[in-house]
């Protein structure tokens, strides 16, 4: 819900409460005043009647309209009294509220009861009038409020939306501190300051974490190097049994695997941290051709047919990343192609497409790019190759897609 809508709804609710309470108070006050006025008017009339009688020496004529005036003879004088009466009025065809004053009038030695009635405003009418006027006031108020908000909100919220856009565009990998303009609205200024402080902290934490990851990774390499070299020395010992030698070699291989894993993770974190931001214009075709030559032995040994159609393509990318894309996609294809299978390479303006024959994936395609995902329990695979390429694609705003078409695994890297 928009802030403006929320504000308006709250205003509407509060206005309703205030106006109903206010309306009730207003109603009772008004009613009291009218009552008093009516009573005053009755007494004035009484005075008028008494004056008339003493001046003209006769009773005034009875009136049976607005202010009813009535005389009745009585034996004894009555006490003056005020009362509320409902009187049936023929023209209105209903009973209407009246205030009535009865008092004793002595005339020519006789006692008369003089009744003066004064019509009161109907409560219904009164409530209706009050309700109507208050409703008009509420509607006016809301209309004015919305109009003002609408007219000025764009101006007032402008800097807020600017800040919002900056936050949306914020890229943590670039570990920058947001520079936000000063704002005259105190709340927005507070928000901006908080955001600047937060990005400052993010940037610091990010840098700390980055250097920690790198240092940890480097520190790991030395002990691994020691393990590898010690086993190598051990392997040269005279009189080793086969069994011992095999164990030693396995230790050595495991250390290598660990080291490779470590290096790949380090590489991945470097890619994520945008440490390969230097971009060059490269001839991608050359890279593919060179890699193919590098993998020649493997391709030959597995007797894989490679069908390639390589158009000339220039790409803007860091040379190491370009190398990793081709190397990982190619080695992946070679690895999962059976002997005498086929690999198709297409390099066009659309991108770099590598297809290889093979059985459908056991797991879903969405898992393919996950870190440490391995299609087979293969000890020599780090399960990071495709994740690495995916990461490169994300960082460079390229795309890497997978599809399984007619027994071919198709990877397409689009620039």
């Amino acid at each position: 819900m928009k802030l403006l809508t929320k504000n308006t709804l709250i205003l509407l609710f509060v206005a309703l409460v205030v106006f109903s309470v206010g309306g009730f108070i207003f109603y009772t006050q008004l009613k009291n005043i009218m009552n008093e006025e009516a009573i005053e008017a009755l007494y004035a009339k009484k005075h008028e009647v008494e004056q008339y009688v003493s001046e003209n020496h006769k009773l005034p004529e009875s009136v049976s309209f607005e202010e009813l005036l009535n005389f009745t003879e009585s034996q004894a004088p009555i006490k003056e009294c005020l009362s509320d009466q409902l009187i049936y009025i023929q023209t209105e065809e209903e009973e209407l509220p009246y205030k009535q004053l009865r008092f004793n009038l002595q005339f020519e030695g006789k006692n008369y009861i003089c009744t003066i009635s004064s019509s009161l405003l109907e409560a219904d009418d009164l409530i209706e009038t009050i309700f109507k006027s208050f409703a008009i006031i509420i509607i006016l108020l809301i209309v004015v409020f919305i109009t003002i908000n609408f007219l000025f909100s764009k101006v007032i919220w402008k800097s807020f939306f600017k800040t919002l856009k900056q936050i949306n565009d914020y890229e943590i990998e670039k570990h920058q501190v947001l520079a936000i303009d000063k704002n005259s609205t105190k709340e927005f200024q507070q928000l901006n300051e908080a955001i600047v402080k937060m990005t400052q902290k993010i940037s610091n934490d990010f840098n700390n974490l980055k250097s920690f990851t790198e240092n940890a990774s480097h520190e790991l390499q030395t002990p691994l190097a020691i393990i590898k070299n010690k086993t190598e020395v051990l392997l040269q010992t005279e009189g080793l049994t086969d069994e011992h030698a095999i164990q030693i070699i396995e230790i050595n291989q495991t250390a290598s695997r660990l080291s490779k894993l470590n290096q790949t993770l380090l590489l991945m974190s470097k890619i994520e941290n945008n440490q390969f931001s230097i971009i060059e214009t490269l001839n991608f075709t050359d890279i593919v051709t060179n890699k193919l030559k590098q993998f020649e032995d493997l391709i030959e040994m597995k007797q894989i047919r490679v069908i390639s159609s390589l158009a000339n393509l220039q790409v803007n990318i860091h040379p190491m990343l370009a190398d990793m894309i081709v190397s990982n996609l190619l080695s992946n294809a070679i690895k999962y192609t059976a002997e005498k299978g086929e690999i198709q390479l297409v390099l066009s303006s659309e991108g770099f497409k590598v297809s290889n024959q093979g059985k459908a994936l056991k797991a879903g395609a969405d898992k393919l790019f996950a870190r440490f995902y391995k299609e087979n329990e293969d000890a020599t695979s780090t399960g990071l190759g495709l994740a690495l390429v995916k990461q490169i694609a994300i960082i460079n705003k390229h795309s890497l897609n997978y599809d399984y078409i007619n027994n071919y695994h198709v990877f397409c890297y689009s620039f």
């Binding site: 010690k230 040269q236 095999i246 050595n252 291989q253 493997l298 020599t380």
Partner: protein, 225 residues
């Protein structure tokens, strides 16, 4: 041949120096920048192995010192930082080679030999192993004086094997030497077998003895025994 090893990790320097001593080198080990700097001022070495991260300084500065002294020593940088920039900077400063940790001792040995050959003989030397002669400057191999036709990989393989003769080399070490880090596939071990088989066949055909021995079913050894 005198080699200076500048490495602060004892675990590592012990293995390296013992391996190199077996190869017949005289290997001196120093643990910090200061003593390394003193050593290179005072003595002549044929090859210097420098770790970049030293407790009291950057190994790259030792390379600078060596160049200032116009030292004839070959320089190999060993580093845990597999950073391209480090590598480029080291080589630009005049280092002959760069190895990132972890490396195999056989690989280090092979690199030292090739650096020494380039430095000492300007490439004009011959490697002899009984009836086999290798001329590194021409990348050619002769058996009893007859030229052997080898592929690039087969040549690399025999050079690596003879550089590390009488030692057990795992398939992994050989694969890494021939194909570098890129090749992390199990398949690569299988086709080392293919290459070894082809090399053996070519050697034997020209009348060489079969020196390539299988060791423990998981590695190879080039040996006359």
């Amino acid at each position: 041949m005198k080699i200076l090893l500048v490495e602060d990790e004892t675990g590592l320097s012990d293995s390296i120096s013992s391996y190199l001593k077996q190869e017949g080198y005289l290997c001196e080990v120093v643990k910090d920048f200061k003593s390394a700097d003193e050593k290179i001022e005072l003595y002549q070495y044929d090859c210097i192995l420098v770790d970049i991260n030293l407790p009291d300084g950057n190994g790259l500065n030792l390379v600078k010192s060596l160049k200032r002294l116009k030292s004839q020593a070959g320089i190999i940088i060993i580093s845990a930082r597999n950073a391209v920039d480090d590598k480029i900077e080291g080589l630009d400063l005049g280092a002959d080679d760069y190895l990132s940790k972890p490396f195999s001792l056989a690989e280090l040995n092979s690199r030292i030999k090739s650096v020494l050959r380039r430095r000492k003989f300007e490439g004009n030397d011959e490697i002899l192993f009984n009836e086999i002669t290798i001329k590194p400057s021409e990348s050619t191999v002769y058996v009893k004086g007859v030229l052997l036709t080898l592929t690039k990989k087969e040549y690399d393989l025999i050079l690596f094997l003879i550089n590390n003769k009488n030692r057990v080399l795992t398939k992994e070490t050989i694969a890494e030497h021939l194909w570098g880090d890129d090749m992390d596939m199990a398949d690569s071990y299988d086709f080392i077998y293919t290459h070894i088989k082809n090399l053996r066949k070519k050697l034997v055909e020209k009348g060489s003895e079969d020196y390539v021995k299988t060791a423990y079913g998981m590695g190879y050894k080039f040996s006359a025994e």
